[in-house]
Subunit: 449 residues, 2 copies
């Protein structure tokens, strides 16, 4: 297969790749971009003033970095107002609890007995008579893995727990935080209602508070808790996908998308989620720009709006561009903290895998190994493979990511500057090589739903 | 000096010491006591219902553990109500800040420009015209050491910062938290006013928030902040020093005090500060009781009230017993987390140092080394040497202590069960040997004030 090497990436492209690597590995751009976003904007929940400022910040930053083509595309977003969240044990051992409202939750002022379940399935299987009138507590602890695979099994209770609890007559749902830390931060994140079931309030307990309630319950006594939320849905607002491009040369109509999401949850400053991604992909394009290199294909940096509340910007992007999705050569998104990146995965035609090996070979000295061809490409671009768009996934080390994810503690000090720089360097080389690759990536293997 | 060995501790005492060591090193008592206090009582700020419940818990626990003499002594305590604390950057980069009111602070609703100082001395030396009408921000970062010596230089700004700021016309004082962590927890702790200076509000910023303000200031712009506190002083309440004794035999009128403080700050459950101390000393006495051993001197466990707000229980104890302080053979207090203990220090007559070596020899296999003869014995007992009372200090490893100290994050999960067990084992042997030692410890070297 190495016979293809010369044709897939030219000598010139490979030389520029080496230059870019040296350049990116000493670059301050990613850090400076992240420092700027988290300091000057801070929290940026869709619909809030912080989100408006984030869009303006991104437009200004792209222009300031020298991108010649900078624009934004409107996205209608729901505006959920967090308000305040308080909870306390009323009996048998009165004391405050640390909670946070789950995104989309209705308000609450309810006092009731706790009924505990090991996980969502246990709730679904429970007898409604046991649940009626109580506060459901789903006590499913997330496990720590480099690739974050502990998230999926637990997060479904965040999304659906309130609906399943309400079906059985519960008055509220409290979730053990979907997080791997043991600090007194509750992890927020979006939850959903359905039309045919009453909307009951939903909040997360910090892990130490979930432990505390479990200890109380283990004494065999009824545990009564009060939950107060002043959250509410406040209708619609407008946000924007913010985009910058490095125009291509002979293949300018084909686009390599590197994305991240601009919005964040509102309690931290969204440093790891997803300021780091913004910095990684913006920095990557800047490195190419700064070296004065012109890619064959257009490199498009897309900072998606409103990822946190349901890929809202990504869906708007897909819909707005539904007639030209064929022009997307490949898409990737950085949304898993600050790295480092350890694996390069794809979803491309199998005939293109030799070329993927050639790219992987260039990433090797940065510590990145070739992975598999079953990638989803990251949250916002994950809706594209179903429409035939090739994607790549640059796997980031997420060992500690869920210690901070969706908490007030997601702040700049949690980012390792070296890991951030490595990640941006990997994206730099990746984008550059994809934009110059002599290879057909379609049709992609059909994703199994 | 080893010639004294046989006379200072009898063969019988030494044999019992070995038995106690084996017993204590597999004991569940310290953990169970701590789990009970932090779960069933939780926060216990003097004057609050939690403090009332803590006193009842301690009385019940001592009786349940089988102590024959259990009693409490009333202590008048000031009741400071925390209320809520909010702060935000108003300009140039609006966003919320994580703060906590310092104990004793008055209420606040003030918006003003920030003026930053490296430390308290820099504030004291500043020109009042620069400070007037502003919010003083003291940005003194605490350093991490095993023995906690980073605390002293920084904590003075917590106590006196508001007064020094008010002297120059400041409208509020914000302190970088006295803590070694980088989490979004602000560290509370007591502060003081003086009669002749206006009482201005005082709060602590979490370390990441202090970093954030510093970054904003580094851009050369005016930073305007709003601070809202609803704290207030609510007069006097009654708390109690709670005491249990193992009566001595031939020297029953001489008392070996092992102490800790029962109160805690109100945002966490006071697991490390000072639930651990309560568990260590209570567990130590229980181990002796459980082995059916009778010490020559009386062993007295004192759980002091209201340490956090100024050694209030300790001062009440001193005053209530001022005519019989001579009966205290030696006093020690565990108030520095859960250990492990690594050093044994004393303040005894120099002629008794050979006997201290004999005791140290017995502690060696637990990882404890003999230290110096300049101990203060721990916060509550630190007021005793000035009155001629010998003290001992069993130094605990405090490397991580100030990550959690006085935050909402001071919860049971932060305690290492093995370290707690070792610490209680050391106190067990210490108390037993002191209660049986054939040695005169007075007069003690005069403490240098
Ligand atoms: Zn994200
Ligand atoms: Zn997220
Ligand atoms: Zn303490
Ligand atoms: Zn304390």
């Amino acid at each position: 297969s190495w016979a293809n090497a010369d044709s897939a990436l030219s000598e010139q492209t490979l030389n520029a790749t080496q230059e870019l690597k040296k350049h990116a590995m000493v670059s301050q751009h990613p850090w400076n971009i992240l420092e700027s976003l988290t300091t000057e904007v801070g929290p940026r929940l869709p619909g809030t003033e912080g989100d408006v400022r984030a869009v303006q910040w991104a437009m200004d930053k792209f222009k300031q970095l020298g991108f010649s083509k900078v624009y934004k595309e409107p996205v209608k977003v729901p505006y959920w107002y967090r308000g305040s969240a308080h909870a306390s044990v009323v009996a048998p051992f009165p004391q405050p609890l640390t909670i946070t409202a789950l995104g989309n939750s209705v308000a609450a002022d309810v006092t009731a007995q706790i009924i505990r379940f090991d996980n969502l399935d246990a709730l679904i299987q429970a007898d409604a008579a046991q649940v009626k009138g109580k506060i459901v507590f789903i006590d499913h602890k997330m496990e720590r893995y480099r690739d974050g695979r502990g998230y999926g099994p637990v997060v479904k209770a965040r999304g659906k727990g309130a609906v399943e609890a309400a079906k059985k007559g519960a008055v509220a749902m409290l979730l053990r935080s979907v997080g791997t830390d043991s600090h007194r931060f509750a992890h927020t994140g979006v939850m959903r209602y359905v039309d045919y079931v009453d909307a009951i309030p939903a909040a997360a307990l910090s892990n130490p508070d979930a432990d505390q309630i479990t200890r109380m319950l283990s004494r065999g006594e009824k545990v009564e808790v009060n939950v107060k939320l002043t959250s509410e849905n406040r209708g619609e607002a407008t946000s924007y996908n913010v985009i910058a491009e490095i125009p291509g040369s002979d293949l300018a109509n084909e686009v390599v998308i590197i994305g991240a999401h601009l919005d964040s949850w509102d309690e931290g400053t969204g440093a790891l989620d997803d300021g780091a991604g913004v910095a990684i992909v913006t920095g990557a394009a800047k490195h190419i720009l700064e070296r004065g290199l012109t890619p064959r294909r257009t490199i498009r940096v897309v900072l998606f709006a409103a990822e946190e509340i349901g890929l809202v910007g990504a869906k708007a992007y897909r819909d707005a561009h539904k007639d030209t999705l064929d022009s997307i050569y490949i898409a990737a998104e950085a949304d898993f903290g600050a790295g480092p990146i350890y694996q390069f995965n794809t979803r491309v035609n199998e005939s293109a895998l030799d070329s993927m090996e050639i790219i992987a070979k260039q990433l090797e000295s940065l510590g990145v190994k070739l992975g598999n061809n079953a990638s989803w490409g990251g949250p916002d671009v994950s809706i594209l493979p179903a429409l035939g768009v090739p994607v790549a996934g640059l796997s980031m080390d997420g060992t500690d990511y869920f210690d901070y994810h969706h908490t007030a503690d997601d702040t700049l000090d949690k980012v390792d500057p070296d890991a951030l720089r490595q990640s941006s360097a990997v994206y730099t080389l990746y984008a550059w090589m994809m934009a110059n690759l002599d290879e057909e990536l379609r049709p992609i293997p059909l994703p199994k739903q």
